[in-house]
Amino acid sequence: MATYLEINKKQVNEEKWEEPFYINMGPQHPSTHGVLRLFLELEGETIVNCTPIIGYLHRGVEKLGEILNYNQTIVLSDRMDYIASAANNTAFALAFEKLMDLKIPRRAKLLRTIVCEMARICNHLLWLATHALDIGAMTVFLYCFRDREWLLNIYEKICGARLTHTYVRVGGVRQDFTQEIIDELYKFTEEFPPRIYDYETLIDVNRIWLKRTKGVAVVPAEDAINLGLTGPVLRGSGVPYDVRKFRPYDAYVEVDFIVPTGKNGDTYDRYRVRMEELRQANRIIRQCLDKLPETQGEPVVAENAPDLLIPEKIKKPEPKPVPKKGVIFKGEEIPVVPPGEAFASIESPKGELAVYVISDGSNKPWRLRIRTPSFVHISAIPYMSKNHLIADLIAIIGTLDIVLGDSDR
């Protein structure tokens, strides 16, 4: 809208022969992964300037969170990054648990870790599928979807939904795994690593893939930190920052895994990092599954976890000994949730997903702030796409792994 008009005003210099070539990429475009709009200024096919315009999927999750109670807010989080909703659930739940000072049973932690890593595999498979399709390798797309389907079926058994799980609740998870699910997950972890070779045969050493990804959109480590890039994008530049290692949450302290990093910070390195993460996620699931029998029979919700329906008011329980005269205890309200603030962040498959919540004592958050990786990553597109070709821009959007529901909230 405004951007277009503003630029239109200053253009068309009649004395000059050349006028810049403007292109509107999106909001309806097959490879902008949603309703992202990129306003491009081109010189031939080289991008001189790129202005991302977002907000087409803005649903006001932060505002809605202020009128819903803590457990209901988790339902909203499903709709943010709808490819890896279990990770979002966990981020929300962690922040709320910190606020309420809950102690999560070990079994719930393990279960959460499993679903989070499943979400990572789901997400990376979908990323690889769309990234490869954007670059033109259409068969990888279908192979990735084939394997993702399996995971979605497992998700369906775990929590009754394929995409919007709402599996994690404040204080734990909603229900335990059955033996059937555990067996199937074991089978998956057995069979998944060989399947990764399928994709790699098609693209890993393929000369066209190498040409399209090597040396494209190089981000040096210093710049990557300054731009706020996180997750595989940052690790591709060689910075081993991973929230799972730096500020461990859930059961990540117990499991053994490697944080893969790249060297050059180009699209190929980020691709390699994600492929390695697929294997690591598989390993983590395996280790967690091995630990599950130790916690057999434990509850999956914290002792003092709030009910799903968090009451609006709690009356102070009447103290057993009769109080002094004149002190009215009966009917005095106490905060449902301790007032204060909490900040929790997780390593979501796309990057660092941070939730900052302020409570005013009621059953609803006073302020819910979500720092999503996609939002930050989109803001890096102008930097990364400068002096690249249009075809590279597609690769850049692919390599950043953005979801517009995540960025616009």
Partner: protein
């Protein structure tokens, strides 16, 4: 005179129908083969195993609204698809399907086909220009650059064949192959064949060289604004181009209609087998490879294929001189 005319008309009509059927079923085959490579089912709703799918597609596209966007250059917009189709389709008439079946046996057959395939770029460029769309325009520009650069590589590859056969007449080329020691030019001209196949894929705008239409970059490139019948014609032209290019490869490198043994009653048998195999390669490659970038494509054309073509031509000439 009249007899000849009638024969000519009947033969042309038959050939056209057969070629059109081939093109239609090529789309079906492509969808089915790629589906199987990707572990999908592919079209299977219309008719047994989806065999009537191309016909249903055609009917659907013909009955759809012919949308003309605002601000297009109307005459050019209307005529561009037909230029593409005619240029791509006419080539079929020159291909010797069999010793005794060739509609137009002219002495400059090869040259004529090359000229036609260059002309077909006009359809692409004009549609890109006339659509009044930036994506289409970029697609048209890419197409023109691509077609021009790959045309050269292809001509160089074919030129060595011409040198060996000593004729531009396609029938003579096949006959020359039959009389040559290897029966086909594939073996002595392997480099030329390599260059030719790559340029042919580029010439037909197929993956990995489908830059002008690059689905994920330029949406659909030069025919982004087209709909209904005109869109279908572009589609037809593309597949026609594939058929003609494969037929040319069969004629010039794979020995045309000859085969290891004679198949009774079907004189076209070996020709068709070779043709189908080449078409399968097109589809196969599409299912496997990613897409080149624009500048890399140009680099490949000018820095690899053209030098290779020239070296090959030089070698051929040298060998011809010696023996």
């Amino acid at each position: 005179m009249l007899e000849r005319l009638i024969y000519f008309l009947i033969a042309a009509a038959t050939l056209l129908v057969i070629a059109l059927l081939h093109v239609a079923y090529l789309t079906y085959a492509e969808r089915k083969i790629i589906a199987r490579m990707q572990q999908r089912l592919g079209p299977n709703r219309v008719g047994p195993r989806g065999l009537l799918q191309p016909i249903a597609d055609m009917l659907k596209l013909l009955t759809k609204e012919d949308l003309v966007p605002y601000g297009v250059d109307r005459p050019i917009f209307y005529i561009a698809p037909f230029i593409s189709l005619v240029c791509a389709g006419t080539g079929v008439a020159l291909i010797p399907l069999w010793e005794k079946f060739i509609i137009s046996n002219i002495n400059v057959g090869l040259l004529f086909i090359l000229a036609l395939s260059s002309l077909s770029a006009y359809g692409v460029i004009l549609s890109g220009w006339g659509s009044n769309s930036r994506y289409a325009f970029l697609g048209g520009l890419r197409a023109s650059a691509q077609v021009i650069s790959y045309e050269i590589a292809m001509s160089l590859a074919l030129l060595s064949v011409v040198l060996m056969a000593g004729s531009l007449n396609l029938k003579d080329i096949v006959n020359a192959q039959i009389n040559s020691p290897y029966k086909v030019y594939l073996i002595p001209q392997i480099i030329a064949f390599y260059v030719f196949i790559i340029s042919a894929i580029a010439e037909c705008n197929r993956i990995p060289f489908d830059l002008p239409e690059a689905e994920t970059e330029l949406v659909a490139g030069y025919f982004v604004e087209y709909s209904a019948m005109r869109f279908a014609i572009f589609y037809l032209a593309e597949y026609f181009g594939m058929v003609v290019m494969s037929a040319l490869a069969v004629t010039c490198f794979l020995g045309g209609w000859i085969g290891p043994f004679e198949v009774p009653y079907i004189p076209f048998f070996w020709f068709l087998i070779k043709l189908y195999f080449l078409l399968f390669v097109y589809i196969w490659v599409r299912a496997t490879l990613p897409r080149y970038r624009y500048d890399q494509l140009m680099g490949l054309g000018w820095k690899v294929l053209i030098p290779l073509g020239i070296i090959n031509l030089f070698l051929t000439a040298l060998l011809k001189l010696i023996f």
